[in-house]
């Protein structure tokens, strides 16, 4: 039964990883930007929530405030910094987002110090759980995070495939010059996509602050790394692939931990390497999806 418990825990953790990964995948899919500052932006979202909660705003309402803030920040960031880098080539974007990551991390250290901060400690949502049978205990938090991840992916998919604006985003992603000839302002469209990406990762950052604790280096040490692994396992540019990738990573880690708790991380990376070797396009490749 311990194994069943571990696997359930792994699947649910996959939801958290999907929240980290789907924005990364979206930005890559639409504008071919590999955003190395993605994890740090998640941490920024988490810290904004910490700040808002200090003003006595209820924890869950902080989500309602942080997500739009990060969406706007994403749009502005794309239109100012990332777009300019993009105009100069792919390598420049890599370097610029890496620089952005360093700047954010050090700014957080400067303003918030290296102290860790949690979100919502003591809340039933964070510490509560329910049991299935006598052996299996499932925390509310991971269930909620998983449900949020699925809702976010469903929403994104509906938006991209059904709405007019979503069709525009896909058109720009396929061929931005052609879309521009047809009258689309691709820079604006890129900005909207970046806004969406940051809105999702802000949710990831807040969930991380509730599940573990936030500190300024969590962005690159943990979030970005897990996001990349989930994206690669699932398939570059595929939205549902991020959830599949997250679940595979989460389950691998939990099975590793069940063998020996110090094998948790290495088990995840072994699966990651195996997939790179056996199925480099990822479990759900983009081609297979369309």
């Amino acid at each position: 039964m311990a194994w069943v418990n571990a696997i359930i825990e792994g699947i649910l953790t996959g939801g958290l990883y999907a929240l980290f990964a789907c924005g990364l995948s979206l930005m890559f899919g639409v504008m071919k930007v590999v955003n190395l500052a993605h994890g740090d932006l998640a941490v920024v979202g988490g810290y904004i929530a910490v700040g808002i909660i200090l003003l006595h705003v209820p924890v869950l309402w902080s989500v309602v405030i942080v997500v739009p803030i990060m969406a706007v920040a994403g749009y502005v960031l794309q239109r100012t910094v990332i777009q300019r880098a993009l105009d100069r080539g792919v390598l420049t974007t890599l370097i610029v987002t890496l620089g952005l990551s360093l700047v954010i991390e050090n700014a957080l250290l400067q303003f918030f110090s290296a102290n860790t901060r949690g979100i919502g400690s003591g809340m039933t949502l964070v510490t509560g759980s329910f049991s299935l049978g006598s052996q299996i205990q499932i925390g509310y938090l991971l269930v909620v995070v998983f449900a949020v991840a699925v809702a976010v992916l469903l929403g994104l998919q509906y938006f991209l495939s059904r709405s007019t604006y979503g069709r525009l985003i896909r058109a720009v992603a396929d061929d931005k010059e052609a879309a521009q000839l047809a009258g689309a302002n691709y820079r604006h469209v890129f900005g909207v996509a970046a806004g969406l990406a940051l809105a999702t990762v802000a949710l990831g950052g807040i969930a991380y602050g509730m599940y573990i604790d936030l500190d300024p280096t969590a962005g690159t040490d943990t979030i970005l790394l897990f996001a990349f692994v989930a994206v690669v396992i699932g398939g570059l540019g595929s939205l549902w692939g991020t959830l599949v990738g997250g679940i595979v990573l989460g389950v691998a880690q939990q099975i590793g931990a069940q063998i020996n708790i110090s094998d948790e991380l290495i088990a995840g990376y072994i699966v990651f390497l195996a997939i790179l070797v056996l199925r480099p396009q990822g479990l759900i490749s983009r081609r297979a999806q369309t």
């Binding site: 311990a2 571990a6 110090s113 290296a114 102290n115 860790t116 003591g122 205990q137």
Partner: protein, 461 residues
């Protein structure tokens, strides 16, 4: 970066404001001391003092003020401001008819092992410190101790279990036959065996009340504290009649503890002990509650030592027990000012920094330094000062500190040369009246001088 001013280290807005004020005050104090030094220097040159210069004594203190271990360093800047009001550190230390002004430099390790080592090199090689202090967990102390011993600078350490410290300096050493002597480094604190001996009476009392299965779950990480605890705890715990259920050695920073919690539940553990980094404990304890692992008594080490650690976990840590090496009821006094533990604690609280905490005892680092410096002929001679710190034997604010053969050893351990033992009392975080959680002394087997302030309560019933 390496001067009196420290990284802006505010935490919450309210707390941060007061802390900044303290930092500012400390900075001003440092300036005054510096100016005093200048005047002193002028004075001696006007007199045409031919007996050589009285170059200021520089003391460097490497400690975690921010990061995972920030709770350990919380009182440190207050301690420095307090020390600067005492005569030797305000007016200078008199050595052989000359008065040496003192400069105190604070270095924030940011709770990083590599940074602690780098800062030790900076302090020794660039800032030419005459003595170093390193405090708060092996993550800060060990790297500094290695550098100080290699580069030949006197170092006083505190708040690091002595086995972790000893095995770092002497990897082939054996704590039960601790005969190796570091030339430049001394330490005052307790050891893993003291924690075991402190926790066992508390387990016994809960067992007598609730009739447990006498199974103790232990989560020890894969770091120097974890290694020391894995070696020291099992025989002591077995001798006391408990079954010891250890988890595998997990890596610091592990985020998911489900597998070890499942193991503890399956083995029906009634007691829980550990030695984690504070953030790891938060994740571990959240998940224990989620997974329904509710030990009848949790006795933790290295975490929940300070009020700031407990606030973020709030009601989740009611009646979790731990150890402490200093409480305000202890009968000790400062050798520098004669102030008592109770006075120190109330002044600390009056300064707006929140609840008193055990690291106010870091004050004694300076008492050791003063006791050593006043016996030497040249405070800038590292070898002479190193010999002097090994011979310190004082009744300080932290308790009796005897580095020659330092008191309170539990057989078969120690005594290790250059280690003074300050034994712990068993304490428990109980729901408070003035503060949300208050540390109550519930067991004083090893430290009878500490007054019992509350009954031991089960963590979960």
């Amino acid at each position: 970066m390496s001067d009196q001013t420290v990284q802006p280290g505010g935490t919450g807005p309210g707390e941060g404001l007061s802390r900044r004020n303290v930092l500012r005050a400390v900075g001003a104090g440092a300036a005054v001391v510096g100016a005093g030094g200048l005047l002193q220097a002028c004075g001696s040159s006007i007199k045409g003092a031919s007996s050589g210069s009285t170059k200021a004594i520089t003391i460097g203190w490497i400690h975690p003020l921010t990061g995972d271990l920030a709770g350990f360093g919380a009182p440190d800047m207050w301690v420095i401001s307090k020390i600067k009001q005492t005569s030797p550190f305000k007016n200078g230390i008199k050595i052989g008819g000359k008065t040496y002004p003192v400069t105190i430099k604070s270095y924030d390790s940011q709770s990083s092992v590599t940074r602690a080592g780098d800062l030790a090199r900076t302090a020794i090689l660039s800032d030419n410190v005459d003595m170093l202090f390193a405090t708060s967990t092996p993550e800060t102390v060990n790297a500094v101790a290695s550098e100080a011993e290699t580069l030949g600078t006197p170092l006083v350490c505190a708040n690091c279990p002595w086995e972790s410290w000893y095995l770092n300096l002497f990897p082939k050493g054996n704590p039960t036959k601790a005969t190796e002597k570091a030339k430049y480094v001394v330490l005052y604190f307790l050891g893993a065996e003291h924690l075991a001996a402190c926790f066992i009476p508390m387990w016994n009392r809960i067992h007598a009340q609730l009739h447990t299965d006498k199974v103790v779950a232990a989560a020890f990480p894969n770091d120097s504290d974890g290694d020391a605890f894995r070696a020291v705890f099992p025989p002591i715990v077995a001798a006391a009649g408990y079954k010891f259920d250890m988890s595998a050695a997990y890596a610091d920073g592990t985020t998911n503890y489900t597998s070890m919690i499942t193991q503890f539940k399956a083995d029906k553990a009634d007691f829980f002990t550990n030695v984690p980094l504070p953030p790891d404990f938060a994740a571990m304890w959240h998940q224990s509650i989620q997974q329904g692992f509710r030990p009848k008594l949790a006795t933790v080490a290295k975490v929940l030592l300070f009020p700031s650690d407990t606030y973020s976990l709030s009601s989740e840590v009611y009646n979790v027990a731990t150890d402490t090496w200093w409480v305000p009821t202890l009968p000790w006094t400062s050798t520098l000012s004669g102030e008592s533990c109770a006075q120190m604690a109330s002044q600390y609280e009056a300064s707006g920094l929140g609840q008193w905490n055990a690291n106010i005892s870091n004050y004694s680092l300076f008492e050791v330094a003063y006791a050593a410096f006043k016996t030497v002929s040249d405070p800038h001679d590292h070898d002479e000062v190193a010999d002097a710190i090994h011979n310190v034997n004082i009744h300080a604010l932290a308790g009796p500190l005897n580095f020659v053969n330092g008191g309170g050893w539990l057989k078969p351990f120690g005594p290790a040369p250059g280690v003074a033992i300050t034994p712990p009392a068993g304490v428990q975080w109980q729901k408070g009246t003035k503060y949300p959680l208050e540390m109550q002394v519930v067991d004083n087997t090893l430290l009878p001088e500490a007054k019992i302030t509350a009954d031991l309560l089960p963590t979960n019933t």
